[in-house]
């Protein structure tokens, strides 16, 4: 990195390095001190049906919703947390009870639930996820798929103790 003067290239490189550092911090929870809690996304709670049952799979499957759940502050993975998932899929609308299901995070705070293929609805191919179990503050997420052809989608929770 040049030290004589600050070129645009150096500025961009430094920016990338900082961004990369921040991104790697997200991937390696142990280093992520002072991690901010995830904020509920706009529209995240739309068509939420509380207490979706824990299932092995929603419907026929073929699509994977994955993600992680960690604690705000120290970023420690949170095992056994119930994440509720629903979406407009090839098997039903968001409002249909059979489009809803829940799963638990494993010992690494990772969750993974198979569900039917998400298809674009209300203008975007998107899913809904909720943490709403009481121990931590409730968070609703609404991730959008980069492409409607994707067969997986991920969403990550950083939860604030309630």
């Amino acid at each position: 990195m040049p030290t004589s003067f600050f070129t645009r290239r150096a500025f961009v490189a430094a920016g990338c390095a900082i961004a990369g550092g921040a991104a790697s911090g997200l991937i390696v929870p142990a280093r992520a001190a002072g991690l901010d809690p995830t904020r509920t996304m706009r529209g995240g709670a739309n068509n939420y049906l509380p207490d979706a049952p824990i299932v092995d799979r929603i419907g026929g499957g073929g699509f994977w919703m994955t993600g992680t759940v960690r604690r705000a502050g120290d970023g420690a993975p949170l095992p056994g947390q119930r994440i509720q998932i629903w979406a407009h899929t090839t098997e039903g609308h968001e409002r249909d009870p059979h489009s809803h299901g829940a799963t638990l995070t494993d010992e690494n705070g990772v969750f993974r639930l198979e569900m039917p293929q998400i298809v674009p609805a209300f203008g975007q191919p998107h899913g809904h996820l909720a943490y709403d179990s009481g121990d931590f503050e409730t968070v609703f997420l609404r991730p959008v798929m980069p492409s409607a052809n994707d067969t997986s989608l991920e969403a990550h929770f950083v939860l604030q103790p309630a």
């Binding site: 529209g43 739309n46 090839t90 609308h93 298809v119 609805a121 209300f122 975007q124």
Partner: protein, 206 residues
């Protein structure tokens, strides 16, 4: 000479028919339809038909469609305007039935989707343009100001609708959607420039 305008008439009406039919037929082929309820499908098609009507309006009022008398054109413009109003209401009502919270978010400008606000603005402008149409004869000021007001709302309708449509991943096929949007923009621009709306006085046919 009689044969030439006849062919021109056929060509113009034929082109309009294609411009209207191709996007509708293409949307009818969308795989998304298989996973939608009839109400949701109807809401989507009301949107597509609304976009077609938006193309038709400047063509009617600008006198670009041959074989129509001025009285006829103006009457059709009012009928098509009313139909557009109905399409907007069916579109929003159908979406409301399909997913109430998403429509509430859109109407309150709190939706996560950027296209919603454009659509909602266009909706209010359709209401306003229709209201202006309704009170035109009772407009207390000069007709020039009425025309400016109506054209202003229409500009927002077309801009809002085009952005709304282009940002949506829905049942419309991309290329036919872009073409229809372009045609609507061109038709509006043409009628505004041909009529010099910004400095028009009282003119027949307005």
């Amino acid at each position: 000479m009689t044969g030439i305008p006849h062919i021109r008439t056929l060509l113009i009406w034929g082109a309009l028919l294609l411009a209207a039919a191709i996007p509708l037929i293409a949307a009818g082929q969308s795989p998304l339809l298989a996973w939608r309820s009839p109400v949701y499908i109807a809401a989507g098609f009301a949107g597509v038909m609304g976009l077609v009507l938006i193309l038709l309006q400047p063509l009617l009022i600008g006198g670009y469609l041959p074989g129509l008398s001025q009285t006829r054109r103006r009457r059709l413009h009012r009928i098509v305007g009313t139909l557009l109003l109905v399409m907007v209401i069916v579109h929003v009502a159908g979406l409301w039935i399909t997913s109430p919270p998403d429509v509430v978010d859109a109407l309150t400008f709190t939706s996560p989707t950027p296209f919603s606000a454009w659509g909602v603005i266009a909706m209010w402008m359709v209401f306003l343009a229709a209201l202006l149409g309704l009170i035109r004869r009772r407009w207390p000021w000069r007709l020039r100001s009425w025309r400016l007001a109506h054209t202003g709302t229409v500009l927002m309708i077309v801009t809002g609708t085009v952005v709304h449509a282009l940002l949506i991943q829905g049942t419309m096929e991309t290329l036919s959607k872009i073409m229809l949007c372009l045609l609507a923009l061109i038709a509006l621009a043409k009628v505004i420039f041909d009529r010099r709306v910004w400095r028009s006085g009282l003119r027949p046919g307005g």
